[in-house]
């Protein structure tokens, strides 16, 4: 069963978000999503300085078998993207909550978010 990290919040579209206090929040995709996609080979991320909107597509993630839109769970300006994950997207499969993070946003507002418990219950994940 795919792991759900207990300390994070989640969107229904399978993104996770880590609020790092006052600084920008870090966003990635859950292990549930990464496992369902299969081996990820390509990721298209929003540009630094662009504004993303909660619930709207801001990039895409492509595996050998399928492709899926990347949604932002929050609204705000993108402050940083994980170029290492763009270079080697396999890290999204191997470490989705760590080295496989995708982008950081200076959050203006949050979309609807789920607790780890709620997300795990809805998606058959394992805390």
């Amino acid at each position: 069963m795919s792991k759900v990290a207990p300390e994070l919040k989640y969107s229904a579209e399978h993104e996770w978000i880590a609020a790092d206090g006052a600084g920008p929040s870090t966003i990635g995709v859950s292990a549930v999503a990464a496992d369902a996609l299969g081996d990820i080979v390509y990721v298209d991320l929003p540009e630094v300085g662009s504004t993303v909107t909660a619930g709207e597509a801001c990039g895409e993630i492509e595996s050998t078998k399928s492709v899926s839109d990347l949604y932002s769970p929050v609204t705000g300006e993108v402050s940083e993207v994980n170029t290492a994950a763009v270079e080697d997207p396999a890290v999204i499969n191997s470490d989705p909550y760590g080295a496989g993070w995708l982008f950081k946003v200076a959050v203006e507002s949050e979309g609807p978010l789920l607790s780890a418990d709620e997300y795990a219950a809805a998606n058959g994940g394992e805390l």
């Binding site: 080979v41 492509e62 050998t64 492709v67």
Partner: protein, 373 residues
Amino acid sequence: MTENHTALYGEHEKAGASFTDFGGWQMPLKYSSELAEHHAVRNAAGLFDLSHMGEVWVSGPDAAAFLDYALAGKLSAVAVGKAKYSLICNADGGIIDDLISYRRSDEKYLVVPNAGNAATVAGLLAERAAGFDVEVKDVSAETSLIAVQGPNAEAILLTLVPAEQHSLVTELKYYAAVDVTINGQELLLARTGYTGEDGFEIYIPNADAAALWQILLTNGQDQGLIPAGLASRDSLRLEAGMPLYGNELSVTGHAYSAGLGPVVSLAKESDFVGKAALAAIKEAGEGSTTGRKLVGLKGLGRRSARGHYPVLKDGATIGEVTSGQPSPTLGYPVAMAYVDVAHAEPGTLLDVDLRGKAEAFEVVALPFYKRQK
């Protein structure tokens, strides 16, 4: 839809497979990583459960003449011990299935249709047998099929074959089959596959399949053998330029557009189902001077085309993708597509509409990947 399970379902569960529905069967999609499974087949070996495929025996004095009538190819010309890729068509020339037939004796063939079409093909063969002195026997339900594919397949297989029969295996040619003792049991072994690599397919009664699966995994461990699911099977066959029924082939398509003209034997003396229609289609130049044709597309960017995406030339739709994904072996996106014959020459630059954004692709000759022999 009925969810059929193969005799190896328990083995897949034990190995932690994730499953997918394919042709009415619950089949392993992958065990761990489909990329690792793909690379294992290209570089070492992979073990596939293909028990969802059909097996239909055709036997009797008219077996050869009957298959000449029922299928598009000239099966009577196949030597005993050899196999032939063929099509079963309807009267309009539409493709009902693509299949492999093994000639086991003068009067006996094993016909292997695809999983989703097995019942239809078995039924049609029985129907078309009227007036021929043949027996058509569908043994799909009691037969398992295990494939060992990859450069190390032969070495792995030899560990289970008595020394005095090794030459039967090592001298077995591609698209040929032989009865050989494997793990103490006489079985039909074919040197065929759907991966673009050397490899074997073993037909075995359901009751014995799990034991063979297990010992192949054990004996193949040192040779890098791992179980491989349908995800890698699909990426392997796409790189090898092999069509998949339901993607590249369908009842509304025909052999000439699909690049399978040579599979149709208009020259054989006897009539066959679809002959008149296929002769007319060929005469009209379908797939060569008019209509659409199946081509390979190589992505010039990083994003992949997927099935049903429109193919564009200067913004106008001139074709449709049938299969596509990033090629694990080659490192760039590959796809197959039907495009207007005017834009089908290798080297032609086209676009694929990737979810609203045009991405550049180049028409290339198939296959994308060919193993070094």
